[in-house]
């Protein structure tokens, strides 16, 4: 197999892995054992995978509330993530954070926090630290279409440009902030990337449901940033399939139409990638079945690990407030 074919299979494997993890969370959420808010990224996986494909382990990624995909694509430990959702001591944050506070420092996943736009300046600060310590590290920050409505985002874009910091801003535009569509939040016909361009930043826009397109854009952007070209802003169009927070579909609520969802579902990032790989002979249906079985085993094991893990002890409540 050519390196290019291997790379394409890697992209697919990781897309499918995130999809299957998220579907498993959705299936088991009703068991009431994952007692924390969850924000599933089903439908949006290609952005996480396409961007993280070009990052080294030492590079940093930060994210917001919808971070499972970013964490997994960056190489975050699956067992520790699922255990965190179950509130267990073996969770990546020891059960203190839940789904909205994933971290895996050994994988370069510096942290995710759910206050919209709040992790953007923190990512820029991490990049400032890299420059001051003369590290070659690139920092990627993932956020949604509502974050550029917050001042912290613009303050971050401004400073990142001022100091030409090695940051890639990745905006996942899924058209909705909870139930509020773009039309009630931002002027019509103004791409989010144009806001960054207004600051003077180089930008790209792309189809966030096509992992190959995301990957190509991210590769070029990350190369430029790594070479000292200053920060870059990427906007990818995509769509969240399930409700903002929780495991279910919510098209019955009326804030968006079933037809709109079906249109986006036709552009499923996982199916599109699979179809291309099958078409080009990079993947056979037997290969695919094998991958599914492998992932099922891994995911089952992760949920078993989470369920069998112990909860943090009650007497640990006050630990970790302060560093010693």
């Amino acid at each position: 197999m050519t390196p290019e074919a291997q790379r394409m299979r890697w992209l697919y494997y990781n897309l499918l892995r995130i999809r299957m993890v998220e579907e498993t969370i959705a299936q088991r959420y009703a068991q009431q054992e994952m007692r924390c808010p969850i924000h599933l990224c089903i439908g949006q996986e290609a952005i996480a995978v396409g961007v993280c494909a070009h990052l080294a382990r030492e590079d940093y990624v930060l994210s917001g509330h919808r971070s499972h995909g970013h964490y997994l694509a960056k190489g975050g430990d699956l067992n520790a993530m699922v255990a965190e959702l179950y509130g267990k001591a073996t969770g990546c944050a020891g059960g203190r954070g839940g789904s909205m506070h994933l971290i895996d420092l050994s994988a370069g996943f510096l942290g995710a926090t759910p206050i919209v736009a709040a992790s953007i300046p923190i990512a820029v600060g991490a990049a400032l630290g890299s420059v001051m310590q003369k590290e070659p590290r690139v920092t990627v920050i993932f956020f949604g279409d509502a974050a550029p409505e917050a001042g912290a985002c613009h303050e971050s874009l401004n400073f990142a440009l001022l100091k030409r910091l090695p940051v890639v801003f990745v905006c996942e535009n899924n058209l909705y902030s909870v139930y509020s569509p773009m039309s009630v939040r931002q002027p019509e016909g103004r791409p989010l990337a144009s806001l960054a361009a207004g600051h003077g930043m180089a930008t790209y826009r792309g189809d966030g449901n096509d992992v190959f397109s995301v990957s190509a854009i991210a590769q070029e952007a990350i190369r430029q940033v790594r070479d000292g070209g200053g920060p870059m802003f990427l906007e990818f169009m995509t769509y969240r399939w399930r409700e903002h927070c929780g495991p279910y579909y919510d098209n019955d609520l009326g804030y968006r139409s079933e037809q709109e969802f079906q249109d986006w579902k036709q552009r499923c990032p996982v199916a599109r990638c699979r179809e291309r790989l099958l078409r080009e002979g990079i993947l056979t249906s037997q290969d695919h079945e094998e991958i599914v079985r492998t992932l099922e085993r891994e995911i089952d094991a992760a949920f078993r690990f989470a369920k069998e893990s112990l909860f943090p002890e009650a007497q640990e409540l006050l630990e970790h407030v302060y560093a010693p």
Partner: protein, 353 residues
């Protein structure tokens, strides 16, 4: 005699020593390298350490606080300065949601060694948005540490301790203390966070004070001494962690408590001290504790109104007399009032801040 420095010179020396000792330390803030250098406290440091380690910044208090936090997560030790406490309110999200909680919410995987200096204004018409005292807000938050140094010795030692601490520390510096003079040793030394200091001993009454009010409390103690009342004055220095033991030991001895904190009464830091004493030393109290705090309104700009806004030594004396059930000497008090400048830190000051 030991060398003497002004308060702002002691700050500058602390920053200078920390910058020299640890390459991870850097300063940022609006005006840090400008010709005024944060009221002198950062003057000349950029010339010595360069524009990356001593940097000015965009007027983006919230974003820059997040940037300080992010750099700390990646190994740096930032010192962020705000010329007024009021400006830092734009950054409450980053301070309270992020810096204070980062270590806890990630199960101790990481800590945030950030120092945020904030200056409390007072007088010279600074008014409602340039002179607030919000120490109670910060001290309320688990995960933050909060210090309020009063003397040049303490500000240097506490600032060095804060910069070396692995947690976010809020350092509240009172503008009226900037030109006071005191003995300051050369070189690095530390004043530990979490230790109060008995700055005057006495048997009859405990006055617990913060920041500039410590000086007013000391003046009050002198006036009370003329009446034959021996007041003990405790400089809190560190609001979180709080040295409750020093306060309780004193109150157990004197049986009388006044808290002098130039901030609003309701839900204020003075209330916390009163609650602490009532919970742990109630049986030692001979009378109900009293608070010397600000009236429940924003600070007015006009000196004619502001003169009645800020409590001074005479107000502490009046409360002490009421607490102890003695009549006091009104002549003494009014003499003290006329000798104290009302909207400037000292008689040489001609404004503006």
């Amino acid at each position: 005699m030991m060398r003497e420095l002004k308060f702002y010179e002691a700050i500058r020396e602390a920053l200078d020593l920390c910058l020299a000792k640890d390459p991870r330390v850097y300063l940022m803030g609006l005006g840090v390298p400008d010709p005024k250098g944060i009221f002198g406290s950062t003057l000349g440091l950029q010339q010595r350490y360069g524009s990356w380690r001593v940097m000015d910044m965009p007027t983006s208090e919230n974003g820059m606080t997040g940037i300080a936090i992010g750099s700390a997560l990646n190994g740096m030790r930032p010192v962020l300065s705000h010329q007024r406490v009021d400006f830092s309110l734009l950054a409450m999200e980053q301070m309270v949601n992020q810096a204070a909680k980062w270590r806890y919410m990630f199960g101790g995987r990481h800590s945030v060694p950030v120092v945020i200096r904030m200056i409390i204004g007072r007088g010279w018409g600074q008014g409602p948005q340039h002179s607030q005292s919000l120490q109670a807000w910060f001290a309320h938050i688990p995960g933050l540490k909060v210090v309020m140094p009063t003397t040049p010795y303490d500000v240097k030692g506490l600032l060095i301790s804060s910069i070396e601490d692995d947690n976010p520390v809020i350092v509240l510096e009172h503008r009226w203390l900037y030109t006071i003079v005191g003995e300051v040793p050369e070189g690095l030394y530390r004043v530990p966070l979490g230790q109060a200091k008995v700055v005057r001993g006495g048997q009859d009454l405990t006055i617990v004070a913060t920041s500039y009010m410590v000086l007013e409390a000391l003046r009050a103690a002198e006036l009370l001494a003329e009446q034959g009342i021996a007041a003990e004055v405790i400089d809190v220095r560190s609001l979180r962690p709080l040295d409750g033991r020093a306060i309780l030991e004193s109150v157990c001895k004197t049986g009388h408590l006044i808290v002098a904190d130039a901030a609003w009464t309701t839900c204020g830091f003075a209330a916390e001290i009163v609650a602490l004493v009532c919970e742990h030393a109630f049986e030692h109290l001979k009378r109900p504790p009293r608070r010397v705090t600000l009236p429940d309104c924003p600070c007015p700009s006009s000196a004619a109104l502001a003169n009645d806004y800020y409590p001074r030594s005479v107000h502490i004396v009046a409360e002490a007399n009421a607490l102890l059930g003695v009549s006091g000497k009104p002549g003494l008090a009014s003499e003290a009032v006329s000798s104290v400048p009302l909207d400037v830190p000292d008689l040489n000051f001609t404004g503006p801040f």
